[in-house]
């Protein structure tokens, strides 16, 4: 990664020096070595503090929405960031010419909590190599299976390389199929059990709205979830269901499976599972890609005159 990191710094510096972008969004050091944080380089020297390693977790696409108002933005994008950007572009929230995208392929992000638990001590560095992940601690260097080390969202990732990049650093990795197998388990539950399952999840919700704030598909200027006629502030189960259904429906058919909502949720609610259930249904019912590719026809967002369900009075096939 360090070679790529060096090239990234170099590109960011050049973009900032030449005034192509006003700010370059990437990652910088956090309080701990294994928890880097989003970093906004606004001058050429700051570009040297950019960092890119296996612990860079946050999705960066959503930051663009704010930043772009002040001028063009550069950023580093993994596959999931790229999809998020595509979402914003398709929703006309940003214009392509306002972005400079430095693409990198991503083999998965290491979850520091998971990794430390697996290694039994502080993990300082990591290498993701195919099916295993090498964790480097002050005392040892050992390999573990991916599932013991990576973020959940990365375990199901289908797009390691962004589809839109002005420049791609390193090799492209071809896209794969999204693994939706974890949906089966919920689908198989009898309905009352399934209800209890979701009730257990939703009742933990703090209504902090982190899931909405990070979501590239939740990019509205004014959110109906902020309006009291749609959603009361209480956290009773009815409001929780209302909140979660509304959120899920508002991204249904538009969610790009970046997994940010689930990663950001402090309560550990499996939002990705709900999104994946919608995604699977949409794929099976409408034959669309899972996840939706922004720019493709939105299965739930188009009037089509030859809809098999009919439109006019009289219904059926007319």
């Amino acid at each position: 990664m360090s070679d790529i990191q060096a090239r990234l710094r170099e590109i960011a510096r050049r973009l900032l020096t030449e005034g192509h972008v006003r700010v370059f969004i990437g990652f910088g050091p956090g309080f701990e070595a294994n928890r880097p944080v989003p970093f906004f380089a606004a001058d050429p020297d700051a570009a040297d503090r950019l960092l890119l390693d296996e612990f860079c977790a946050a999705g960066l696409a959503r930051y663009v929405l704010e930043e772009v108002r002040e001028g063009p933005v550069g950023l580093v994008a993994r596959g999931c960031d790229g999809l998020g950007l595509e979402r914003l572009l398709a929703d006309h929230r940003v214009a392509r010419e306002q972005l400079y995208v430095v693409g990198v392929s991503c083999r998965g992000v290491v979850d520091p909590d998971r990794a430390c638990a697996a290694a039994g001590e502080e993990v300082r560095a990591a290498r993701v190599n195919g099916e295993t992940v090498t964790l480097i601690t002050p005392t040892a260097e050992r390999s573990f299976p991916r599932s013991a080390c990576l973020l959940d969202k990365c375990l199901r990732c289908q797009d390691p390389t962004p589809r839109i990049a002005d420049v791609l650093l390193g090799e492209a990795i071809p896209p794969g199929e999204r693994d939706l197998a974890h949906v089966d388990a919920v689908e198989r539950m009898p309905s009352d059990e399934r209800y209890r399952f979701w009730a257990r999840q939703f009742e933990r919700c703090l209504r902090c709205l982190a899931c909405r704030q990070v979501c590239p598909a939740c990019n509205c200027v004014s959110c109906s979830l902020d309006r009291p006629e749609w959603l009361e502030r209480g956290t009773g189960l009815a409001e929780q269901f209302m909140f979660h259904f509304t959120r899920a429906y508002h991204v249904a058919g538009r969610c790009v499976a970046c997994g940010e909502c689930e990663r950001a949720c402090p309560a550990g609610i499996p939002l990705g599972l709900l999104n994946d259930k919608f995604m699977k249904d949409l794929r099976d019912l409408f034959g669309v890609a899972a996840p939706h590719r922004p720019g493709d026809v939105e299965p739930l967002g188009k009037f089509c005159p030859d809809d098999p369900e009919g439109w006019h009075e009289g219904g059926e096939g007319t």
């Binding site: 006309h92 929230r93 004014s222 749609w230 967002g301 007319t318």
Partner: protein, 657 residues
């Protein structure tokens, strides 16, 4: 809080038989904001409407809820009554306690509880109502008629005779449509051109009809009263203004090609008209078959033309026109019977379709009106007609009856006998449908006087034997296999929509049925209207039909256009979508869901937001649902109103009275 009045209708026994209207009225009287509640036997009657008018005046009502039948039944009636009493008509709400309640319940108590709930919901909605003003749209008093067949000509004449301008757009170089190909017409046997030719001449001469032949509609924008259409005229490669119609070019053109007008049984030239009586009498060059266009030399036409009208450099021209109403009269096609291999069409020259038989019968046709079979020009002694080829055949996707084939086949059998007195006609049929004035009598004459032999059953196979065709089928009446050796086989092929019917329908935003025939707004009550206001249907574009029905419908469509043109301004419901620009994100997720393309972009400050054209919007509400921000609202059905209704239903304290 607004002062609300509630009127509960008995609808005679219809509602009062199942719902306890007295209890509903009492419950309504106790609802917040309700200052007046009354029930009445028939609220839609004159005394019923008067009750509403008086209540509005006496009780100073701000809104009225009528608990009655479906809004599609009497909403307009009650709105008018309210307006007469000085109340904004859009402050009338209907609680549908008939179709949604009394008609679907048996239990009186349950039905009463539900009726109270429905009234409660509408009272809650009425509380959040705003007065709305009807939209007023200007009318361009000029009509566009698409298609110059008998339907389009009739509609154009009727509108023009009433004093309005008409643009008549026909794709072919000449008027007439299918009818121009027919010989005689059932049930009177008058010759098609004898009735058609005077009509085409009249249309061409009419001072208020502008005829645009060899032209197509490319784009349709706007809405009722103010449509903008782009019309393209294909290059004829002849300057029609110079041309004097002498047809020397056609005479001298060395290039002869099969004529589609003659169903490929005759020939035409690469330059010329489809048939001698064509109106306008102006030639076009068939670019695909012209030697000059193919090889770069020839130009015989250029040399013989006395007025230098031939112009190989002519290009397509496009013009934009404003019209207030559109009549679609693009007609029908006949099925290419190639897909019916068992009948040997396309393989054997003596298997032809009925349209070709019309040409054989026509005195201006390829045989001068003598019935000769295509293979060797012999006059056929035995002719087999097969009905329902492709029609009434759900297995092959067309379950419908083409309606005209029974009649024209009877006509063919009769005309054949007139011309070949010792000939024998056989007709394979499923059953004979002759509903129409004088139709059954016509078929009887074909059987009794023309001696046509009707055989009930489907034909399984047609194959050649010697110089004849063997037709094998089963007579379902006797159960026996029948075999007829015929000199000529005529297939009555299904009437189908034109190949480009769906594309044009999309331009016009008019719905089509499963086959591609255009949908009327209501099969019984609005048969010439479409779901798009200001666009009307005439003729076979809607469904297969014969000439007399076509003409009747065309006059019907014309009268609708005239009714529209007789208004000073068009009044439209204000129940349309509006954008709250402060909330709109400019994501335009709303745009693709709008079936009427009513949503476009507007710059507000430094960003783009959605905006709705109220003339185009039909108030379907699809956009309001698609907008996640809640920036799109449907007037008269705002989120606040709908949520108030839902809340009233959910929080309802329950028992009536």
């Amino acid at each position: 809080m607004p002062r609300i009045g509630v009127v509960v209708c008995w609808c005679g026994h219809n509602i009062a038989g199942t719902v306890d209207v007295t209890q509903v009225t009492a419950a309504a009287a106790a609802m917040p904001g309700v200052v007046y509640a009354e029930d009445y036997k028939y609220v839609c009657s004159e005394p019923g409407q008067d009750l509403i008018r008086r209540a509005i005046a006496d009780k100073r009502l701000d809104a009225v809820v009528v608990a009655a039948c479906s809004p599609s039944m009497h909403e307009a009636t009650f709105r008018q009554a309210a307006a007469a009493a000085g109340l904004n008509p859009y402050r009338v709400e209907i609680a549908n306690v008939r179709e949604q309640c009394s008609w679907v319940h048996r239990d009186r108590e349950e039905a009463t509880v539900k009726a109270v709930a429905l009234v409660q919901a509408m009272v809650a909605k009425a509380r959040r109502e705003e007065p709305l003003e009807a939209l007023r749209l200007p009318v361009t008093r000029r009509a566009l008629v698409i298609g110059g067949g008998i339907a389009g000509m009739q509609a154009a004449m009727d509108i023009a005779d009433a004093g309005y301008q008409v643009l008549l757009v026909e794709r072919e170089p000449n008027l007439g449509g299918r009818m121009a190909q027919l010989s005689e017409t059932f049930p009177t046997l008058d010759c098609a051109s004898c009735i058609l030719t005077p009509r085409t001449a009249e249309v061409a001469r009419h001072p208020r009809i502008e005829l645009l032949t060899y032209s197509e509609v490319r784009e349709v924008a706007g809405y009722v009263g103010d449509f903008r259409v782009r019309i393209a005229r294909k290059p004829a490669y002849v300057d029609w203004d110079r041309c004097i119609g002498c047809m020397l070019c056609q005479e001298k053109c060395p290039r002869k090609v099969p004529s589609p007008f003659e169903r490929d049984m005759g020939f035409k030239k690469a330059i010329g008209v489809n048939f001698p009586q064509a109106v306008p009498n102006r030639p076009v060059i068939d670019r695909e078959h012209c030697t000059y266009f193919e090889k770069g030399k020839c130009q015989v036409c250029v040399r013989v033309c006395p007025v230098e009208a031939v112009d190989f450099e002519q290009r397509e021209t496009v013009r934009e026109e404003a019209v207030g109403a559109i009549v679609v009269a693009t007609g029908f096609d006949v099925l290419a019977p190639a897909e019916f291999g068992e009948y040997g069409y396309g393989r054997y020259p003596d298997v032809i379709d009925s349209l070709a038989f019309e040409r054989l019968n026509s005195s201006s046709g390829p045989t001068g009106g003598v019935i000769r079979r295509p293979s060797d020009g012999r006059v056929p002694r035995e002719v087999v007609f097969i009905q329902c080829v492709g029609s009434r055949d759900p297995d092959r996707g067309r379950g419908y009856c083409s309606k005209i084939c029974c009649m024209y086949t009877a006509k063919h059998a009769m005309l054949y006998r007139h011309k070949v007195p010792d000939g024998q006609a056989y007709v394979f049929y499923m059953d004979v449908r002759a509903g129409g004035k004088g139709y059954e009598e016509f078929v009887q004459r074909t059987v009794e006087q023309a001696g046509a032999l009707y055989l009930r059953g489907r034909v399984a196979r047609v194959y050649p034997e010697g110089d004849r065709m063997l037709v094998r089928g089963v007579d379902t009446l006797s159960g026996q296999t029948v075999e007829v050796a015929a000199d000529l086989v005529v297939l009555a092929t299904a009437a189908v929509p034109r190949g480009d019917a769906r594309e044009l329908a999309q331009l016009l935003k008019v719905g089509t049925d499963a086959h591609g025939f255009y949908n009327e707004a209501h099969p019984k009550l609005r048969p010439v209207e479409t779901m798009t206001r200001g666009i009307f249907l005439a003729g076979a574009v809607q469904a297969p039909r014969d000439i007399s029905e076509t003409v009747a419908q065309a006059s019907g469509a014309a009268s609708k256009v005239l009714a529209l043109f007789s208004q000073e301004e068009l009044v439209a419901d204000p129940l349309v979508a509006v954008v709250d620009e402060t909330r709109c994100a400019g994501c335009f997720l709303c745009r693709p869901v709008c079936p009427y393309q009513a949503i476009s972009t507007r710059v507000a400050g430094n960003r783009e937001v959605a905006t709705v054209n109220p003339g185009l919007c039909q108030g379907c509400g699809a956009c309001a649902v698609a907008c996640r921000s809640g920036a799109m609202a449907l007037k008269g059905f705002t989120d606040e109103q709908i949520l108030a209704e839902v809340e009233a239903l959910c929080l309802r304290t329950g028992s009536p009275g």
